[in-house]
């Protein structure tokens, strides 16, 4: 019988050196320590699918056992995943619910639900009315686009008194651009009430602009962000509510799924993967017929509970 710990599981993240994936690494390391499996995380210096593929190519050459990817561009990975599978390597993804060629995709939650949830929170905070704008990191970023699609859909279905002022705005994952674009939005749409962010950099950038223009209380920043990044702005009221899932947990859970599959165990609906929000997972096949594991792992953070997080 093969040793249950004699596996090499590699997490390939979008980008090295950002807070989000630094945190994810903690989860991967926790998993490695707890189980004794050789699990670790790598990433490229630039968030470009091409560099990520290069990393995976080399992992295939290295003959690891499982590769988990947080893709910059999910479809771009299909061929290289196929190659990995052909070489007997298992492939998994996180944040790519439409992925083909994977054993499992692991999602902290359903993107559509998450987007709708963020819109609900914002709408409630704005008393169900007012103008808002949505940001994406890059116009080409799938997850962000899915969230924004869901947000807009939810608003159109449920909040007729709210109004999207312009097409989704790109801030290139850059806080200064988020700041400048928000300034411009505030000038162009004086009745703007809410700014919805998708990338980590939007909320602080937008909140800063709101604060500087003396609009705290009149305009608020919402959206996905880390508590530590948005901390000041939540406290001073420029950012009203942020949402995130804990990357370390996602990292841990993904490794765990990979390990269970490597050991030959079955992943079942309702299983507990050992982290909050993943106590009772659901499994659905995506449109291409590949199974996706969903948790309910999002966290809503406001000025009240932001101190509870150290991330």
């Amino acid at each position: 019988e093969a040793d249950d710990t004699d596996f090499e599981i590699v997490m390939v993240v979008k980008l090295e050196g950002v807070a989000w994936f630094d945190n994810m690494r903690l989860g991967v390391e926790e998993f490695a320590e707890e189980t004794g499996v050789n699990a670790y995380q790598i990433g490229a210096a630039t968030a470009d699918p091409a560099s990520q593929i290069a990393l995976i190519e080399d992992l295939i050459a290295k003959k690891v056992d499982a590769i988990i990817v947080v893709p910059n561009d999910p479809v771009a990975l299909e061929p290289v995943f196929k190659k990995a599978n052909d070489a007997g390597i298992l492939t998994f993804t996180h944040e790519a619910s439409n992925q083909k060629q994977v054993t499992f995709d692991i999602e902290a939650f359903d993107n559509d639900a998450y987007g709708r949830h963020m819109m609900d929170v914002m709408a409630e905070d704005l008393n169900l009315e007012g103008e808002y704008a949505c940001f994406v990191g890059h116009l080409t970023s799938t997850t962000h686009n899915e969230w924004v699609d869901a947000e807009i859909a939810q608003q159109q279905e449920k909040y007729p008194n709210m109004k999207l002022v312009t097409d989704r705005i790109e801030e290139q994952e850059n806080q200064q651009i988020a700041y400048e674009k928000t300034l411009e939005l505030l000038r162009t749409y004086p009745n703007l009430k809410g700014v919805m962010g998708s990338a980590m950099s939007t909320v602080p950038g937008a909140a800063l602009a709101i604060e500087e223009k003396g609009l705290i209380g009149k305009v608020g920043a919402y959206g996905t962000c880390l508590p530590s990044v948005a901390y000041d702005y939540l406290k001073n009221g420029a950012a009203k509510s942020i949402h995130f899932w804990i990357p370390a947990d996602a990292g841990y859970v993904s490794c765990k799924v990979a390990w269970e599959v490597l050991k030959g165990n079955e992943i079942k609906e309702g299983m507990d993967l050992g982290k909050p929000g993943y106590e009772s997972i659901t499994i659905q096949n995506n449109q291409h017929g590949f199974p996706v594991i969903y948790g309910q792992a999002w966290h809503d953070v406001t000025a009240e509970n932001v101190d509870d997080y150290d991330l």
């Binding site: 593929i53 290069a54 080399d58 561009d73 479809v75 771009a76 080409t140 799938t142």
Partner: protein, 334 residues
């Protein structure tokens, strides 16, 4: 003869480096570096990047630069992808499918030629400095790609098309075969045609080339078209390899391609540099990159090594030219 050898001292340094990198990696990664799969991995990564590097090199030979290579590739890829997916119906017969693939390839190439032409016209006729012209067109091309796709990727191409990016012939990855053909063709063009000859002359002194009756504008336009073509070919390999296209794909390649050109001995001020140097530069970079990936080095450490390498080549160059002067002197005295 000795002169000839010295003239190529830069190439020699590169060659030694390439060999050194290879040996070091083989020793430090026993059983992991010297494997067929690793070579296949290296071989399938080099081509698209290599073609982009050639595209930059061509522009550099004229003393310019082409920043729009990635956007050209993206736009060409979007064009091809539109054709491949729009008409890729399941009931398509084998013949139609081949025809479709052919059409897609032709349109990708056509688009990239047009992009190159646009650059060439701006640079040759309106005399916009290349860095500005291509910076502008970079935004225009990728802007068009974004307008067309609204930011969403286009995916799912016919199986046959994927052979270009992922297939192998006698264990040699298809992209590598394309790349080798391109290298050979490009060396032929640069070294053996009058266009290539004139390109080098123009790069080393545009005024004198004008005074010698070289059609500077024509050469410039053709160079940028050729550079566009290389980007187009890269894009075909690229979209086939990843079975999708999305604007922005490959943006990390831009600075890397410039880096590898310079490492490979292309003079950014024009007139000097050859394909063999470039290819060696690419191989050095790829060997180190793959080695570091296998070793799970921090990607930032890779940057340090590349940067150091670049400076090191130049410093060695500096000393070798000093040294060679001394040798010459001694030969003279003897």
């Amino acid at each position: 003869m000795f002169d000839q050898y010295l003239k190529h001292s830069r190439t020699t340094i590169l060659f030694v480096m390439m060999f050194g990198a290879f040996i070091v990696m083989s020793i430090f990664l026993p059983g992991k570096f010297l494997t067929l799969s690793n070579f296949q991995s290296i071989a399938s990564q080099i081509p698209e990047f290599g073609l982009l590097a050639i595209a930059i090199m061509l522009a550099m030979l004229t003393g310019g630069i082409d920043l729009s290579i990635i956007s050209t590739a993206n736009l060409a890829g979007v064009g091809a992808a539109l054709i491949l997916t729009k008409y890729a119906l399941p009931q398509l017969g084998a013949y139609e499918e081949s025809y479709l693939i052919f059409l897609a390839i032709v349109s990708a190439i056509g688009i990239s030629l047009l992009c190159g032409l646009a650059n060439g016209l701006l640079i040759a006729y309106i005399k916009v400095p290349a860095i500005l012209a291509t910076l502008g067109t970079m935004s225009i091309f990728s802007g068009i790609a974004i307008v067309i796709t609204k930011g969403y990727g286009i995916q799912g191409f016919p199986e046959k098309f994927l052979f270009i990016g992922s297939g192998t012939i006698f264990a040699i990855p298809m992209p590598m075969i394309i790349f080798i053909v391109c290298i050979l063709l490009m060396s032929l063009i640069l070294n053996r045609t009058s266009f290539g000859f004139n390109l080098y002359m123009l790069g080393s002194n545009p005024v004198a080339s004008r005074f010698s009756g070289i059609n500077n504008r024509g050469i410039l336009v053709r160079t940028y078209i050729l550079s566009g073509l290389c980007s187009g070919l890269a894009s075909i390999i690229m979209i086939s390899r990843v079975n999708s296209i999305r604007p922005g794909y490959g943006s990390a390649y831009l600075l890397q391609a410039i880096l590898v050109c310079v490492l490979g001995g292309v003079d950014p001020s024009g007139g000097y540099g050859n394909i063999s140097g470039l290819v060696m530069g690419i191989i050095v970079l790829q060997i180190l990159q793959s080695g570091f990936n296998i070793l799970s080095f921090s990607p930032f450490f890779k940057n340090v090594v590349w940067g150091l390498m670049l400076i090191l080549v130049m410093i060695l160059n500096f000393y070798s030219s000093r040294y060679s002067q001394k040798i010459r002197k001694r030969m003279k005295v003897d």
